[in-house]
Amino acid sequence: MTKLLQSFAWLINLIKPPRIFSWQTVILISIFFWVISFLVGLGCDNLRLQNIFSSLGCLAVIFGVGWFSLENPIIVQGFSLSTWIWVELVCLFVASWWLDIAPFIWMIWPALSAIFAAWPEFFAVQKKIKNLVNEQRFKLLIWILSHLIISCWIQFSLIIQDWVLQYPSLLADNLSQSDFIVKIQPFSRPISGGERVFNAMERQLKIQIDGKLWVVVESWLKNTNQREKLLTEAKKEISGVAEKHLWNFRTEITAQKTGYNLLMIAEWQGPSYNPQGYFLKKVCQVNAVTRQPTPVKAKLRRERKNNNARVATTPQVIITAKPVKVAKIECQSVTKQIIEQNQLKNSPKL
């Protein structure tokens, strides 16, 4: 046992705080809190308790780092690096708690960090900016201005996030031409607003006409009002974003040999990679298929069981068991078509 302890002595020495009352103790306490919150997460699904413990751990880390930076600030070129990190930690913590003002905190943390990091060397020692030597003043100005520019970059990226939230179709486009931004989306293919509406329409169509009687479906398809209703219902999918005015939807019906083709077209009128813009197309084939009416059959069997003796029902059975024409719907995936230079924008050739 003692051997085991001795072999781990270096580790114990490494993590053992020199005094009880020091910043190392606080960091250890924070690790303890995090372990507890991890165990709580494993043991039971009490998210609130877990959050409380993990934020206690965060608070302890902030306290510990603050203590550390007070005791021995790491000064690089006159700026306290540890204070810089401490202010960033505080900002992260505040931003994670107050989600409403999180963007604002994100924006101002570089400036705040810059001022606090410059504090011990420039403000606290010399008491007044007036007393600073020229060289120090220049240094201070360059330091603060460069952090202000970092603040501007953060604000710019927040603005871009806001734009993408308002116009999600931008994400589905090719962004390689831009001089400003890089898109990172590793796990999924982005879906544009038009595609979203199409998918909603497909779902609705399947509910409404798939497997219904062909006569009913035929009259449904020929009714333009019904299609309009379907479209407005599906448009609710993108009603929350600003780009809904930039999509132009329409549907067309063409008669085929075995049925009808329902063509859905969505024109994008906003900015896009292709200079003339593009439109999305989705074709759903509604075909008539003959099918044995299964529910009727079951009913018949039940009837037959109930009254075996009656043979008079047979001709009736033959009539009802006749195969019925029902609609079968098959949708292809969405295709994107780029509008060529010499084509008129309002009438894309299909």
Partner: protein, 188 residues
Amino acid sequence: MIEDLWLVLPLRAVVFQSLLLLISIAIESVVLQRILNISRKTATEYSAILNLLSTFICWLCFFLIQSIPLKTLQIQLIRYVFYARFISPNLFSDFQNGFYFLLARICIILIALIIELIGLDFLLNFIAAQELEIKHLISSKEPEATENKKSRFQKYRESQLNKIKFKATFWANFSSNIFISALILIVT
């Protein structure tokens, strides 16, 4: 949840701006050193401060323009930021794009020039007043004019120091902007 993760970061803007800032600081420091007759270190510090300041003010102008609640303007900005184009295409779109790009560039250059002029004035008068190196500039200030009738603008125009300041800022800006514009043209 992780499938919905997306990020659009202005990394290219950050890289380009850092590079352009470094280039223009280097060029302007040489010009300032020649014209103001100061040491290389001071000149570099001056040009760093002036360039950072003008970049910051340009960003503020962008944020101001962006905050105007006008749908078409917003879409135009999006088109520029996401696809490096100003207008929806038509027959003359190449010319128009070039024209708008030039206009924006000239606006930025003018704003930078004004900011740097004010900034240099501020630097020389308030921050670097005790410095020995530029004493010759400060002392070359004419004795206070007895006639107060002259307007401020006239006084400004006649002052020798201001002439030097203007010359320095103008040539510094001019050379760095010419270089950067050429660089952009070559790259694109």
